[in-house]
Amino acid sequence: MRVLVLGGGITGLKTAFTLSEFDIETIIVEKSSEIGGKVKRYDKIFPDFRSGKNLVKNLIASARNSPNITVLENSTVTNVAKNNRSYTASLSDGKIIEVDAIILTCGFEVFDATRQPEYGYSVYPNVITSMELESFLNPEGPTKGKLLRPSDGKVAKRIAIIFCVGSRNMKIGNPYCSRICCSYSTKQAIEIKENDEEAMVTCFYMDIRTYGRGFEEMYQYAQEIGVKYIRGRVSECSVLPDGNIQVRAENTLLGKPVQGVFDLVSLSVGMMPCVDAEELAGIFGIERGKDGFFLSKDDDLFPHDTSKEGVFLAGSITGLKPIRDCFLDAMSVSGRVVSYLTDLYKNR
């Protein structure tokens, strides 16, 4: 029994690892040069502030050490052909593999902030995205964990975090809520404050959707340690001669305009389907929703099945999830695939 896991993020790694515990052979095919996905760049993860990097490191180590798991990096699937019961997958590096089932764990992509030019991303160096902020907060990152302004390398003391960038916006075609940006932004605000007591963090939000267990508590804690929350969506960022960024919004709770000057502005970008979504949907002949994320056969009864037998979905490929939900997904898809394979082999 052999399974192809496409995408080596936390979902893919955890899936492969779980299947290996059932003695099922897996091949992880990862497009980038290194497995681990996005989480390997996070120093801390919400809600419990454990290390994301270490979590991924451990997963990678167990994948590499497992005799059941093969990792193929710099590779992806370019074509699949269904045989009687198995699949023959052609990989971009020319390899051809035969597998019984395929699990897609290609994750998500963050919203391209240049599509909302009012915030000046890529024009003003001191406007960054949340993804970049993650690497600034990483002690092993380019700034060794310091918040240094890209324009002049000075330590940023006044930081604004702008929520809902690329989400809940019909004009750019993304009406959905990305669900986790409220939480990761709050996590980042806490990290900034805890690293530097003098730093002032102001979050411009529309609604706080810290929905998960422990998430709301994290939001309360952030306020306790002095993170400021202003209810108002930012309409514009502009740059001042010294590189500082001026932010304008309406404080909608007071009904008063607010204007602030910040050293650094982070855009909490929302989630988009993975880059290859369209291509993958074509290769596997499976459906995506209007939001571009992949659709399962039945959200309640068959959350991992697709319309094609033997092709399964897990993790943020079906919509954004926090890490723990990705883990849950990985374990439940494994259960589903084990039962599928058992059926497949029983009838041989």
């Binding site: 019909m170 075609g173 304008r248 209007k290």
Partner: protein, 423 residues
Amino acid sequence: MVGQDYKKGESEAGLDYGWRFQGKPVLLPEDRSAIVDGSSHLMQMALTEMSKEYFSVERCLQCGMCTEACPNTMLNTNSRFSPRKFIQELRLGLIDFSGEDLWFCTNCGSCVSVCPYEIPFIDVMKDLRNLVIEQGAGYLPQSLKSAISSCRRYQNPWMEDPNKRADWSKTLNILTLKKDNTDGVLLFVGCLPSYDERGKKIAKAATLLLDKAGINFDFLGEKEVCCGDGILRSGDYRTFEKLKKINTESFEKRGIKKVYTISPHCFDVMKNHYFEKNEDKFLVAPFILLLYEMLTEGRLKINKPINKIVTFHDPCFLSKHNHIVSEPREILKSLPGIELREMEHHSVKSICCGGGGGGIWLDRKKGERLTEIRLEETLSTKADILVTACPLCLSMLEDTVKNDNRFEPIEVMDICELVLEGI
């Protein structure tokens, strides 16, 4: 583009944003509003008389981006008017129609251009004003009242004699102002350039430019009536329909195929409300696009350098409503000797002069005029001339310049006048 296939499509019920519940599209509030049957509440029936857009307020996120963008909040009077707050009060049934709030909005379109949920606030305003005008539901400022009744009686907002509408052209000796060989091209002058002493200069400049370029054009003369833009935006739908009928009948009678309007307001209202069903039959464009063509095609030659620093005030109905921002700038840059400097807010981010949406008929106190914000920005560019391309903007801006000595150094000109100086 990354996974971006979240395209809007039409569903049976209206716009489809891809939201699904139990497999069916989730309707937007305004689509839901359209579904009314005999059992519906009387109030609901009355509300369906209002345009579909009105109901979009139900989906407002209360995010405040509109208020941030609204020029009214930039006044030092400290945000008397906030579209976000207005919407919230409207939803809660707390709007006080006896106050002035309803008339502060100049329909500039800033709010609509930033709203993440595409709420057509301007249409909402129009419907509410309609309630006041047609059903007497609240306060209507006196000056607006007289403009409206003047439009009803004289087909212009200033109680002017309709027979004198073409008087401005009588002193001109222009050969091209004739009715044949025009290929159905018409110059629509508009009320301000027809009657206002200052406005007439724009009309004259525009016709002289056409003459110099050797373009024959038709002109309705005394038969022209107000385009109805201000009237429609003030909520008087009936009078608007009457004015529209008179103009469109004249167009048809004369076999007009293409209309150039001096004012961007006439252009916008004709484009969206005159010809909506007749797109192929008539084409409408603002005069500035013709001017741009005349210059780029070399039909107009500029010989005299105009050694001046200028800045450009974008009329809302060119910039925010119709995204015409590069042509006026290219015209200005092509004039020899002209240096163009931009104000802090320009192009689609430009700030309204206060003249739109019936605003030109309101008396705003000193310190509460949007023109003051604009002129302060002009001062900081140190430009000699503030150029614009709309008779309403010109009139609003010049009025303030005359009545406030802070702004004395600024000269306000229409782009046609400036171009003419170079010939």
